[in-house]
């Protein structure tokens, strides 16, 4: 839909973008004593804004638009919340709130008032990250999205090496360098786009793009740059050590949310910028890489000895599912992509994986805190020490395996249905094989956690509120399984004008 004018209540979108940024600056300028309080106040306010946006979008059935400074695109920049954005905003806010509750235990400000590094850095970057994510969900300008991606990278990288150990520093540097390589490819693509069409506005480009070499190269560079940031196989070199090395609260956010932003951008590029109908072989290539990601990295997850590394590899595998949507949507008989089962399944997979993976990483963090290590083979006694956490892990695992009644089940069922409908048998086979592999690696952990504790193993007590935060995320991942099995009208809001 063209962003012609600001819609009523559009100011909320600005708030969604600016609240966390203001919170971050406040922490920076006021010092640590207030960091946690500022962060939590911002979390509450931001959650309220996200919910308000979602409700408003749902009520009006229209996308919300805000023209920054009143300047209309292509000259100005528009923020827009369509159904997809609204869902993503709420998802982000809820997950960050849960992580916020969780992190109180590990990143509390010291009582004596002296500023310490970890809480200061964590809370300020945590808010910076939120700003970046909301920007990625809302911006409709390719260059603003570039800035959003950079915001994201700059907030995420230092979180990886918060511990300051050699391994994490090294992981963070790899992450930074590869992410920058991705960014620069993306930026190159936007430059070519501007050279060809004289605008960065997605809605304007939607009507302009031609299937010529300049556009193809631009899109190719941008999409592959984003793939590097989403860690799709075989560009996943940075993810496992980075996500496994970060503190649990940070890993959860990185794996659940940060890798999703580049994927959502790819979706927008593919369905809103690329000339339609998009190239079938290119869609098959993306899905092929997704399938390889699923199979290859699931096997890798299965072979990890450390819990957090296993979860990190599982993230790469699960991101693979998202890339299956391209041929599924293109081959479907639905009138518009957003009315197809494949699209809905893809988005649902994104959301349910976000909740499940956040819960899993947080649970892994608590298990490691309770037992003092995260070696999968020696997790015995975990179920006795932190039963709620292990239950949360198992529930989240249910979603990853794609078993009912979890959200991941509905998502995979929709993708499977779409694969059968479009006769993409290899995709159907991959989805099923991925489910089997996921079940195997999840069961390996749960089975080990249920075993008896070895003699003389001590455990550390964990605050109940933190366990409950994890459980809440896992329960949401499961509750998503009670969505009906059909394309959701909500996700198509704001896309009426697009063929």
């Amino acid at each position: 839909m063209m962003a012609d004018a600001t819609t009523p209540g559009g100011g909320l979108l600005v708030l969604a973008l600016m609240l966390p940024a203001v919170g971050m600056l406040a922490i920076f300028a006021l010092g640590l004593r207030h960091a946690e309080r500022i962060a939590h106040a911002t979390l509450l306010a931001g959650l309220a804004v996200a919910l308000a946006v979602a409700v408003k979008v749902g009520q009006s059935g229209q996308a919300m638009t805000y023209l920054i400074g009143g300047w209309r695109p292509p000259l100005g920049i528009a923020l827009q919340a369509d159904g997809l954005s609204a869902v993503l905003m709420v998802m982000t806010a809820v997950i960050l709130c849960a992580v916020g509750v969780f992190a109180r235990g590990s990143f509390s400000s010291p009582r004596d008032g002296a500023e310490t590094r970890r809480p200061f850095v964590f809370w300020s970057l945590f808010l910076g990250l939120w700003s970046a994510l909301n920007c990625a969900w809302l911006a409709r300008d390719l260059f603003s999205l570039f800035v959003a991606l950079e915001l994201l990278t700059f907030s995420a990288v230092p979180l990886v090496c918060l511990d300051g150990s050699r391994e994490t520093l090294r992981a963070a540097l790899r992450y930074l360098l590869f992410a920058l390589a991705g960014s620069v490819l993306y930026l190159m693509g936007t430059g070519l786009i501007y050279g060809a069409y004289g605008t960065m506005d997605i809605a304007t480009l939607h009507h302009l793009t031609r299937a010529d070499w300049a556009t193809s190269l631009a899109l190719g560079l941008m999409i592959v740059g984003l793939m590097a940031k989403a860690a799709l196989f075989p560009l996943h070199l940075w993810l496992p050590p980075a996500h496994a090395g970060a503190p649990a609260a940070a890993s959860a956010v990185l794996s659940a949310l940060v890798v999703k932003a580049p994927f959502v951008l790819i979706l927008r590029l593919w369905f809103e910028v690329a000339p339609q109908p998009a190239s079938t072989p290119a869609g098959a290539m993306l899905a092929g890489l997704g399938a390889a990601s699923i199979l290859f990295c699931s096997v890798m997850a299965l072979r990890q000895a450390r819990l957090k590394l296993m979860i990190a590899y599982s993230t790469v595998a699960q991101v693979g599912y998202l890339f299956l949507v391209f041929p599924l949507v293109m081959g479907s008989a639905a009138v518009t992509p957003w009315e197809s089962v494949g699209w809905t399944g893809g988005v649902l997979q994104l959301v349910s994986h976000a909740f499940a993976k956040a819960a899993m990483f947080l649970a892994a963090g608590l298990i490691a805190e309770a037992l003092g290590h995260d070696r999968i083979a020696d997790l015995g006694g975990a179920a006795k020490a932190v039963p709620v956490t292990v239950a949360a892990f198992a529930l989240a695992g249910l979603s990853l395996m794609g078993l009912p009644p979890a959200g991941g089940f509905i998502a995979k069922l929709m993708l499977l249905t779409a694969a059968v409908e479009t006769a993409n048998w290899w995709i159907a086979a991959t989805i099923l094989a991925g489910g089997i592999l996921a079940a195997t690696y999840v069961f390996r952990v749960v089975g080990s956690a249920l075993a008896e504790a070895p003699e003389g193993a001590g455990t550390t007590a964990i605050a109940r509120s933190r366990e409950l935060a994890v459980l809440a995320l896992a329960l949401i991942a499961v509750a998503l399984g009670f969505l009906p099995l059909q394309p959701f009208d909500y996700l198509a809001i704001g896309r009426g004008g697009m063929p």
Binding site: A172, L173, G191, Y194
Partner: protein
């Protein structure tokens, strides 16, 4: 051939050269420098677009020029962060050359 086209080809070459360094250099400092080379080439693409879009009494389209300014600053911040990281690794006693011992950085399988 206009100067813009000539510099455009130069930009393409800069990207290729930078990419070569980014892929092959084993030390992070040289990777960062290579990244900046690619960035410079990329910014020039915007410059070409700006120059070609000269109109309305402007000698270049100011919009891509403004974007380049933003881009240069972001690239600087990235460089500073990467350098700070690699220096910290040095302090922590980790070799900043990536790869050995767990992952030798050559191509032989």
């Amino acid at each position: 051939m206009t100067p813009a086209t000539l510099y455009g080809l130069c930009a393409a070459a800069l990207v290729a050269i930078g990419l070569f360094g980014l892929i092959l250099h084993p030390t992070p400092l040289r990777k960062v420098i290579s990244f900046n080379l690619i960035g410079s080439g990329t910014f020039l693409f915007f410059g070409i677009a700006a120059r070609r879009g000269a109109a309305a009494g402007f000698l270049g389209d100011p919009v891509p020029q403004a974007m380049v300014i933003t881009g240069i600053v972001v690239a600087f911040a990235a460089t500073a962060l990467a350098v700070a990281l690699l220096l910290r690794m040095l302090e922590a006693g980790a070799p900043t050359v990536d790869g050995p011992p767990e992952q030798p950085d050559d191509l032989s399988p």
